[in-house]
Amino acid sequence: MAFTMSVYEKFRPFFIFLLLLSLSFASQASESFKVESATVKKIGNGYVLNAKIAYPLTPRVKEALSNGVPITFLQEIRLIRSIPLLGQYWQWQKTRWETTLSYQLRYHALSEQYILKALDTSYQRSFPTLTAALDALGHIESLNLPPERLSDTIVTRLQIRSRLDLHALPTPMRPGALISSKWQLSSPWSMAEWQ
């Protein structure tokens, strides 16, 4: 213990520097992905999710895209069961179901098209403009939700968020992207509305 204390005393300025460094990492980029709307609709016996996510890309990401680097987008959806223990301030949450939709967006130079490919299904679509591609990416339409997990809609919540899969980037770019705020575009978890 004495040793820890003495080391701390000795290198206090260094520790303070580390603390400041970690704080600087915590500051996020000004603009990031945003879930604009998310609704769960009951159709027949099942439930479907409709959502709209805005993908404002930073110039750095656009530059990478235009240089042929494929960018992977992740859309994470989860159903949580939250039991309030102390009002709304402290809730015990349990994930009942979750899924991640992965999309790869890349630029096809020959056709001058942006190709959006669902990595789970290998289904791909091409768009003449980036905006069109991102628009299409941001539209989640009639995504089927597992009905067995939705038996009790009062305590079950659906959360959605989107982010870039930085680990899918080419290796040389990865360290830079991981520590750069220009690549930190994750949206916070958003709650879907029940209709």
């Binding site: 240089n67 680097v69 096809h108 056709s111 290998s122 091409s126 080419p170 830079g176 991981l178 520590i179």
Partner: protein, 720 residues
């Protein structure tokens, strides 16, 4: 445990190991195929922090080294020098390798890219685009024509016409959509596909602007297809406009070529784009490894320096402790190199030194024993033994020598012999004799010397023997005073006995004969002759009488009678004698002392003779010199602290002419007299009696005149 971790080499080993693992992970993580991709940031962060930690530890180590160096601790200088040398070597060599590596890295990566290749790729892409452009325009035209034929057809006819057109145009898929995106009709060549490909929103948006759409579309499975979307002209006003989408396949060969061009172009572009991060990451990895190497090398330099210096330091400490007299120093052997050999030699040396010291101590002890033995022998000798060095300084003396000379000789050790003469006048002759002999003689000598001490004379026989190698002399001297006296006494006793025997015996017949002559021839001789006869015979008789007296004195002197000692008050005895002499009024004899309770063990008769002789002698001396007879008799008790005996000192002092100097030494010997009368045996008899009482007697001339005879008699305290 913590202390051990803190101080030992464990943190260095663990960190070095950790860094090696990290370097491996890092190199593995830079490969795409690695599963460690997700851990990249953690690995990198951990690596950096470990490096920082290692740096801190190294800095601490170096700081400690510098502190030792500053405080001038043993071995720190050499360690510092070695470390500096190693670090310099490491830094220089690593910097060179590092800078060249960075240079080659940059050059290597940059050499992948070439302006001409880039241009060729761009051109090939452009060429491909142009190729497809022609085809696109043809197909767009074809699509418009097909759309024209489909204008205002009923749904059944539309389906039919679509199939027909599809067969004719070899289109893969044809579909009719409303502008809202509702499917109207479709025909698909591929039987596996059920739902036609819906044009995306961007296409609809373009079509709504009355612009036809044609594009090269990358389809599933890396295929290429051409997608054309045109509005179907409507002849009925107000009818919802419809859209025809046609997907044309591109023949396989072209598709493959186009794909190759696209992939090469994209790969090249991506690679070009990744050039900077690639260089950065390679530089970073290289730097990390170089830094690791440098730090590890510095650590190793410190470690190896300490390892090299440690035995040397131990050696230095060992040498110091040997220098300060601790020969039991044993160093632990470190290795089989030269230093190990040195340590072994040092250990052997200390072992030998210890043995030598032990041997010296033993011989020293032996020498001490010998010296003790010798000094015991010397001290028990009745002879005085002194040694002098070649500078004539006193080196040793035994107890007896001091006792004989009556001084403490130990205080003259290491001092020149001359000092002895300076301090003690009665030893001047002794000192001069020895100095003279040892200066002039090379071999042994023997001399007899008579010294006049304060109260007695001392006869010494001295023998000098040179020490080997001219180291000095050993002088042995014996007190032969008693021996000489005994010899003399024995000689005189023999003379007296002979005289008594040879002379006394004829004297009686001579006397008787003379008396007979007188008696017998007195009546026969004439009157005038008788006077002469009487005179002659009387002379014979008187002289014979005188001779008888003389012979009796001799026999007294020679007599060895047993002493009849008993305690007797000395004051009473003296008074008795003095009273006898007081009858003559001209004799002034005083007894000064009034102590009357002192009893002395003595033979009263013989001591009475002593007093008689002394007083008579004093009176005669005064009378012979025609001086008034004045005699003082005194006695006193002298207490001796360090002896069981006290001394009685008896003095008979006259105020006569004194004793001639030449007589002082021989006064108590027979016939040592300058008087006209007397046999010369009076004082000799006194001396003899005093000797028999274990006392001493000596004579002193007093100022302004007269002599004093002093007697010292031992008295046991019990007799007081």
């Amino acid at each position: 445990m913590l202390q051990k971790l803190k101080s030992g080499a464990t943190p260095y080993y663990s960190i070095a190991f950790l860094l090696l693992v990290l370097a491996y992970l890092l190199s593995a993580a830079t490969n795409d195929s690695s599963r460690l991709n997700d851990l990249f940031l953690i690995i990198f962060g951990l690596g950096i922090s470990t490096l920082i930690l290692l740096t801190i530890l190294l800095v601490r180590s170096l700081h400690r080294l510098y502190k030792n160096f500053k405080h001038n601790q043993a071995g720190s200088r050499l360690t510092m020098r070695l470390v500096t040398l190693f670090v310099l070597l490491i830094l220089i060599s690593t910097s060179i390798v590092y800078s060249f590596s960075i240079h080659f890295l940059h050059r290597g990566i940059n050499s992948w890219f070439d302006v001409e290749i880039e241009q060729a790729l761009n051109d090939s892409l452009e060429l491909s685009k142009t190729t497809f452009d022609i085809r696109r325009r043809t197909l767009l035209r074809q699509s418009r024509m097909m759309a024209g034929t489909l204008s205002n057809l009923s749904e059944i006819n539309l389906n039919y016409s679509l199939r027909e057109l599809s067969d004719l145009s070899s289109a893969e898929e044809m579909s009719v959509w409303t502008l809202d995106g509702q499917l109207v009709a479709a025909t698909i060549q591929n039987t596996k596909v059920i739902v036609p490909d819906k044009p995306n929103e961007a296409i609809f948006r373009q079509l709504r602007k009355q612009q036809d759409y044609i594009s090269l579309d990358p389809a599933d499975g890396d295929r290429l297809q051409l997608r054309a979307a045109v509005q179907i002209p409507s002849k009925i006003i107000g009818e919802d406009p419809q859209v025809l989408q046609v997907l044309f396949p591109i023949d396989e060969q072209l598709s493959v070529l186009a794909k190759t061009v696209q992939e090469a172009y994209t790969d090249y572009k991506e690679l070009n784009y990744l050039r900077k991060p690639l260089i950065t990451i390679f530089t970073l990895t290289l730097s990390l490894i170089v830094l690791l190497t440098v730090l590890a090398s510095i650590w190793f330099a410190i470690w190896i320096s300490k390892r090299i210096v440690h035995p040397l330091q131990e050696l230095a400490d060992g040498t110091q402790s040997v220098a300060s007299g601790n020969y039991n120093t044993h160093l632990t052997t470190t290795g089989h190199d030269e230093i190990g050999f040195l340590v072994q030699s040092f250990n052997k040396m200390t072992q030998r030194l210890t043995k030598a010291r032990d041997a010296t101590q033993q011989s020293h002890q032996l020498l001490e024993q010998q010296t003790n033995y010798l000094s015991t022998v010397l001290s028990s000798l009745s002879s005085g033994v002194i040694t002098l060095n070649d500078q004539h300084q006193l080196k040793t003396s035994n107890e007896t020598s001091g006792r004989i000379l009556g001084i403490n000789l130990q205080s003259y050790i290491e001092k020149p012999l001359v000092e002895l003469g300076k301090d003690h006048h009665h030893l001047i002759e002794f000192e001069q004799l020895i100095s003279h002999e040892i200066t002039n003689k090379q071999s042994g000598w023997q001399q007899q010397i008579e010294l006049l001490l304060e109260k007695r004379s001392l006869t010494l026989i001295c023998r000098g023997t040179p020490l080997p190698d001219n180291a000095g002399w050993v002088i042995v001297f014996d007190d032969i005073t008693a021996l000489m006296r005994a010899q003399r006494d024995a000689a005189w006793a023999e003379v007296a006995r002979r005289l008594a025997h040879e002379i006394k015996n004829p004297l009686t017949p001579i006397q008787l004969s003379a008396e007979r002559l007188q008696v017998k021839y007195h009546p026969l001789l004439p009157e005038d002759q008788t006077g002469l006869l009487n005179k002659l015979t009387n002379t014979i008789i008187q002289q014979v009488e005188a001779m008888k007296d003389m012979v009796n004195d001799f026999s007294d002197y020679a007599k060895n009678s047993e002493l009849q000692v008993r305690p007797y008050p000395i004051g009473t005895l003296i008074n008795e004698i003095i009273t006898l002499y007081r009858s003559n009024r001209e004799h002034k004899i005083r007894l000064l002392s009034t102590l009357d309770n002192i009893k002395v063990e003595l033979d009263v008769t013989r001591f009475r003779q002593v007093l008689h002789n002394l007083i008579k002698n004093a009176i005669e001396a005064c009378e012979d010199a025609n001086m008034p007879v004045k005699i003082d008799v005194d006695y006193q008790l002298i207490q001796q602290k360090d002896s069981a005996e006290d001394m009685l000192e008896l003095t008979v002092r006259d105020y006569g002419p004194g004793i001639p100097d030449e007589m002082v030494n021989i006064l108590f010997e027979p016939y040592a007299t300058n008087k006209v009368r007397g046999t010369g045996l009076g004082l000799a008899i006194v001396k003899k009696i005093i000797d028999e009482h274990q006392g001493t007697i000596w004579v002193e001339n007093k100022q302004p005149g007269g002599a004093s005879i002093q007697i010292s008699l031992p008295i046991t305290r019990a007799s007081l």
